[in-house]
C-alpha cells in the first residue's frame, strides 16, 4: 500500500467534503447530527460487536486495565456519544455570524463574517468516543474532519465512521466531510502532517508523547496543550475554609484530568493555620504529598519534593506543597513551573486578586474557584474539542467558535482607493 498516495487521496476527499459543508445550511447540518445520534443508538449492538474485536486484541497485547476501560464501548457510553451529537445540534451555528460591522468614512461598510476553517485533522488515541465528538463539532462549524484514531480502536472507529458517513450521505452532505484514515501505519500520520494547504488545522488529542510528536513534525498549524501543571495559591488573606475546599476539589475530584491541581502554594503567614487540616483531609482521601522543607515541618507525612517534581503532571492522587513568602514568590513559581493551563489564587484581598488575574499568563486564571472549572461546558461554550495552551488562534477551552475563522466583507457603492 502506498501510504503517501492513500493519505493524499483521503485529504482531497476531505477537501471536497469541506467545500460541500461550507455551503450547507444550519438546518441541514443539525438534521444530519440528530439522525447520526439516533443511528448510533440504533446500531449499538453492531458497535459493541466491533468494539469487542478491539478489546480482544488489546487483551492479547496485554494493555492495562485503564487503557482497556478507555477503549470500551457499552450501551451507556453509546448513549452518551449519541446525546453529545444531539447537544451539538442544539448549539447556535457559528458560521455566517457577522461581527463588528462598521461604516467607513468613504461610505463603504466593512464587517467580519465567521466562516469555516476548511479541513481539520484530528489525531487521537484510544477512546473511540472522540470519533463522534470531534466529528460533530467540526461538522457543525462547517468543517470537514479527517480522523486518525489509535490503532487499538480501529474496528470501533471504523464502525462509528461508517454509521456517521451513511447518515451524511443520506442527508445530502458529501461523505468526504467525515474522512477516516483506515490504516494503523504510523507513516500515515507523518504524511497527514505534510499536507499544508489541504489540511488547514491539526488538533491532537491524547498524551504528551503523541502531542509532541505531532507538533514537531507538522507543517500545518496545531492547536494543543502538552500537559496541565496547575497551581492553587492560598494567599495569607484567603478564607481558609474556602481554600481547603478549592484545593481539595482541584486535586481529588478527578485527579486524572489536565486541569487538576499538581502544586499547592501556601503563603507562609497562614501555613501553620492551614496546612495541618488540609493535609489531614488529603491523607484521608488517599492523596500522597511531597513538600518543601517548610511544608515538611508542618506536615510530617509529606515526602521531600525535588526540583523535578514541580514540573510533573501526576494525573494521580499526588500533590506538591510549597510554602512561599508572598504573592510575588507564588507568581514567580507559577511563571517558572506552570504549564500555563489553569492557575488559581484564593484570597479575600482585592488588589492581590486583580494582580494575579493580570500578571499570571495562563489559559485560565481564576480567583476563588477550582482549577477543575477550566472546561468548555463550565465556561459556557456549550461543547469543547480540547483545551489549548497555545497563544495563536485559540487559548483555553475550544468550542465551536474556535473551529471557525473570519473573513472581511465589504459592502460598497463604487469605492476606490485614492
Amino acid at each position: 500500500m502506498d501510504i503517501k498516495a492513500y493519505v493524499a487521496a483521503k485529504a482531497e476527499e476531505a477537501r471536497a467534503g469541506a467545500r460541500s459543508l461550507a455551503k450547507a445550511s444550519s438546518r441541514q447540518k443539525n438534521e444530519a447530527l440528530i439522525k447520526m445520534a439516533s443511528a448510533l443508538k440504533k446500531q449499538a449492538k453492531d458497535l459493541i460487536k466491533e468494539n469487542a474485536k478491539d478489546i480482544a486484541f488489546a487483551r492479547k497485547k496485554g494493555l492495562s486495565k485503564a487503557m482497556i476501560d478507555r477503549l470500551t464501548l457499552n450501551d451507556k457510553r453509546i448513549t452518551e456519544m449519541s446525546q453529545g451529537l444531539t447537544e451539538v445540534a442544539g448549539l447556535p451555528d457559528p458560521v455566517g455570524e457577522i461581527l463588528t460591522m462598521r461604516q467607513r468614512p468613504n461610505g463603504m461598510t466593512v464587517g467580519k463574517m465567521r466562516v469555516p476553517i476548511g479541513v481539520i485533522g484530528i489525531i487521537y488515541e484510544s477512546r473511540p468516543n472522540v470519533t463522534a465528538d470531534a466529528t460533530s463539532l467540526c461538522l457543525k462549524a462547517g468543517n470537514a474532519v479527517i480522523l486518525r484514531g489509535g490503532s487499538e480502536a480501529l474496528h470501533s472507529n471504523k464502525a462509528i465512521v461508517r454509521i456517521l458517513r451513511g447518515v451524511a450521505k443520506a442527508e445530502g452532505l458529501h461523505e468526504g466531510a467525515i474522512t477516516f484514515i483506515d490504516t494503523p501505519d504510523r507513516e500515515a500520520v507523518m504524511e497527514m502532517l505534510k499536507l499544508e494547504g489541504i489540511i488547514d488545522l491539526i488538533i491532537p488529542r491524547g498524551g504528551e508523547g503523541l502531542i509532541r510528536a505531532v507538533t514537531e513534525n507538522s507543517r500545518i498549524p496545531v492547536l494543543k496543550h502538552y500537559k496541565g501543571v496547575c497551581h492553587v495559591f492560598v494567599d495569607r488573606d484567603a478564607d481558609l475554609k474556602m481554600a481547603e475546599d478549592i484545593c481539595f476539589n482541584a486535586k481529588v475530584q478527578r485527579p486524572g484530568t489536565c486541569n487538576a491541581m499538581e502544586t499547592m502554594l501556601v503563603d507562609k503567614k497562614i501555613a501553620r493555620a492551614f496546612l495541618p487540616a488540609m493535609s489531614a483531609r488529603f491523607t484521608k482521601a488517599g492523596v500522597k504529598m511531597k513538600g518543601c522543607p517548610e511544608t515538611r515541618k508542618l506536615v510530617p507525612a509529606a515526602a521531600a519534593a525535588q526540583e523535578d517534581d514541580f514540573h510533573n503532571e501526576y494525573l494521580d492522587l499526588m500533590v506538591n506543597i510549597k510554602v512561599v513568602r508572598d504573592i510575588d514568590e507564588a507568581m514567580d513559581h507559577i511563571a517558572r513551573y506552570s504549564s500555563a493551563h489553569s492557575d488559581t489564587i484564593v484570597t479575600r484581598d482585592y488588589a492581590k486578586g486583580m494582580r494575579f488575574i493580570r500578571e499570571v499568563d495562563s489559559s485560565a486564571v481564576l480567583i476563588n474557584a477550582s482549577t477543575r472549572l477550566n472546561d468548555g461546558y463550565q465556561f459556557g461554550l456549550g461543547a469543547e474539542i480540547g483545551i489549548s495552551t497555545d497563544k495563536i488562534h485559540a487559548r483555553g477551552p475550544m468550542g465551536l467558535e474556535e473551529l471557525t475563522c473570519t473573513k472581511f466583507i465589504v459592502f460598497g457603492s463604487g469605492q476606490l482607493r485614492e
Copy 2:
C-alpha cells in the same frame, strides 16, 4: 561566531523584554513611542549617514534602481516613519480589554482578557522603515520584537534600532523589548525559526520566496500571505461605469501591491458592451492585457492568456481578462486561481452579491469596491503589520488586536467542580 548560541541569547533577551512590556502601562508605552518618534527625527542626519553606507554597498553589488529606492532613507521618509510611531501611540491599547464577561449558573463570572502574545519575530527584506513600523505595533500590543532585516539594510536597521532601544531604556522599558539580530548570516534565520516556546509568532514581510522559506522551516506559528492574485468579477447586472472605475483603480492605482487586481472576469452577457471601452482605458494607461479567446475577439490588443498566467501575480501594469458564462463560472475560477487575498464582484443584483459574499473564501470579499481597499487603514484598524491569507488566528489585514491573544479569567466565590 556561534550563530546558534548568539540567536538563542538574543531570543532570551527578547523574552525578558516581553515580561517587562507585559506589565507596562499604556501611558508608559505611549510615551516611549512618542519619544521614539521625536528621536528618529532629531537623529535624521545620522540615519541618513548610516543609510548611505547601505546604498553605496547596494550600488557596488549592482542592485536594481527599484531596490535601491526601497532601501533609501531621506528626510521625508524619516518624517513618515516618525509620524507612524506617533499614530500608533494614539491608538487604543488592546491589552487588558475584557471581552464577553458572563455569569455562569454556579455564580462564577467568566470573561476573556486580551493579553500580549509574547515575543514576535519579524523577518523582512530591504525596506528599513519596517524596523520602526513593526516595532511600534508589537510594542504597543505589549510584545517584544525580535527583528531580522535584510542584509542590504543592515547599517540603516542598526541605526534605527539603536535609537529606539535608547529611548526604551530611558523610559524604563527593558531593552530586550526591541531585539535585533545583528548578522547577515542566513543561518541566523534558521535558528530563529527553531525557537518554539521562546519566540511565539513569526511574521515574514517580503517577497514570496522569503515567505515560503520561512514557512517551510518554521516550528513557530507563522502569519503570512504568499501573494495576491486578486479578481474583479463584472457581473451582467453591473453598473458598467462603476465596474470600469473599480477595475481601473484595482489595476492601475498601485500595481505593485498585493491587493491590486491581476485578473478581470467579465460576464459574457455584457462583454461586448464593457470590454472595448475598458480595454481602451487600460491601453491608454499603459496596461498590457492577456485574454481568453472570447476576450481577444473583442480586444484585439490582448495577447493570448495561458493557463499559468491566471496563477500569476504580475505586480505590474499587466492584466488577465477572461469572459465567463455566469457568476458560477466566475466563482469556480476564483476558487481555483485566487490566492484568497481580495476578490470583488461588481453587480446591482442583491442575490448575486450576497452569494458572492457568502461563497467566496478570501481574506476580503467585496461588493462594488476596489480590491485595493483591503488594507488595515482603509478597514479602520488604525495600522497594519501585514495581511494574512491564513485561516488560523488572523485573516486579512492585521492590526493591534491581531498581535494579542486572550486568556480566560474567572471571578469566583468558592466555586467547585461537581
